[in-house]
Symmetry: C2
């Protein structure tokens, strides 16, 4: 590990109101979503994935995408993102003045067919139409590669296949790329290898790592990615999110646990952990259940406790 | 990260029946403890911390130490350890034929006073008496340094203080050392730094890292330690254990999650993950509650799922 070569600043990208809420058992009222996003805007995160412009039938929890996107307070310096599954969603997101659209496909054909009812090639063709629609706007386009570290149906995905998909993304005019560990299959060694390969082939391409903590390796994967030069991470407040194939397992890596680890290691993220923790600790009453995030429960490593009063050697 | 220089073999040391059970809300029947230890003996772990010969008033859950230590089946190649708090406990553990005694003190004076009602110097004097008692037996002596990565009362512990304590341990005749992150305060950078310092100063000293996952960094700390050359880790089946200062937070790192990460990275531990998972999945019914370990819920990264039956591009 080459600690001195760690990135001087790491960007934290908050996805709780999209990835976190989409599989929650109940709908979070629109006003609560807006208040949460506005609070997150004050924490120092670089991006917020606000919502998804997707069919309300597919994701009822995000049926209020338009309302949320329009009502939030846009803080200068924060990039507000919406996930869009198709041209129609993209058009709505552009109309709502999102700063960035996040376009997702799975590098695994089986997973893409299962999730999107399209082959990856068909998804890519759809992205081309979105690139056209966004032309001339200020909105940037991020391409996310789901199952980049493995598919729950197909298993491991060959690295060249992932690198080729990045090439495709850049060729059609996307601006940045996310490698997503959709179902928490990544391990640190694999992460280091793939991030290094992307760095070699695509140099300064803005690259985000999107990890889940499904098998407990979330922060270990972050560490391996940092060591390989990655400096942008998606994370979800409280560790909300999850995986339909792992009932009871944890979801996305927790934003506050991630920022806490970075703080403890002296890696700058610009995020105010105290504000994040305040919001993480308010989550259980908002969503009606406990959260997987640990630091909200345990406190920071530096939060000391009073010593027992009668301390004496016997 | 220098993956090629990772240790060729990592030793897994199971502590569930001691560290894991000691704070459980209810007593696990003696027969269940014995059956669990006998099953763990078949998994390929290098050591099992069987119990603690401590006052039944202090730790009622381990009141059956003598019975358990005598009834388990000793499998050749596995080192059976007991934690001992004092000479009397040491004598009982020696009488029970334990292969190793684990002697614990806190490098933090405040924590040692709170936990043991002794100064660290007084604890060390007690260890000397145990060294005498064990002389001429086959039993080895391990010294554990609690709060080596931080004390919940005092905060960070200076590295030279930890190194000096190791020196003290070796001077009085202990054979090996454990650095324990008693309340889960360690971060990966600190771990790498301390392990490297121990390696420089003490060369081939058998060194164990004992991590808790209290703040979600458990496996990231393992990764940093591996990269610094550590090859022995304590872990607790299911991630049982915990920390009185962090109600609701996770406990020791989970043995099965640790072995899973090592397997996925191609680091050999000799542990049969399938057997471990079988036992981890049986824990909730034994102890009456859910476990923090993730892989028992999510399955291995390589456990694939059947694809949905009607896969067609629309």
């Amino acid at each position: 590990m080459n600690w001195e070569a760690f990135p001087p600043r790491v960007h934290i990208q908050e996805v709780v109101t999209r990835d976190g809420l989409q599989i929650e058992p109940r709908f979070l009222p629109t006003a609560d979503k807006i208040a949460l996003i506005d609070a997150l805007s004050q924490t120092g995160v670089s991006k917020i994935e606000v919502t998804s412009f997707v069919s309300p039938k597919a994701v009822p929890n995000l049926a209020d995408a338009r309302e949320v996107a329009r009502a939030i307070t846009r803080r200068p310096g924060v990039t507000y993102v919406a996930l869009v599954p198709n041209l129609r969603g993209a058009q709505e997101a552009l109309d709502a003045g999102m700063n960035e659209l996040n376009l997702v496909l799975s590098v695994s054909e089986t997973h893409n067919l299962a999730n999107m009812r399209m082959t990856p090639a068909q998804s890519l063709a759809g992205f081309r139409a979105i690139v056209e629609a966004a032309r001339g706007t200020q909105t940037t386009l991020n391409g996310s590669i789901a199952t980049a570290f493995g598919c729950p149906f197909e298993g491991a995905q060959p690295e060249p296949k992932v690198l080729e998909m990045i090439e495709n993304f850049l060729n059609i005019g996307l601006h940045s790329v996310t490698l997503a560990d959709t179902t928490g299959m990544a391990n640190p060694r694999q992460v280091a290898h793939l991030v290094a390969a992307v760095r070699r082939q695509f140099g300064a391409l803005p690259l985000t790592l999107h990890f889940h903590n499904t098998r407990g390796m979330g922060l270990a994967n972050v560490l391996a990615a940092l060591d390989a030069g990655a400096d942008r991470f998606d994370a979800s407040l409280g560790g909300l999110g999850g995986c339909p194939f792992a009932p009871g397992a944890t979801g996305n890596i927790s934003t506050e646990d991630l920022v806490h680890m970075l703080d403890e290691m002296g890696v700058y993220s610009g995020v105010d952990l105290a504000r994040l923790l305040e919001r993480a600790r308010a989550l259980p009453s908002l969503i009606g259940h406990d959260i997987p995030g640990q630091v909200a429960k345990a406190g920071r490593s530096g939060d000391l406790h009073p010593a027992p009063t009668r301390l004496a050697a016997s």
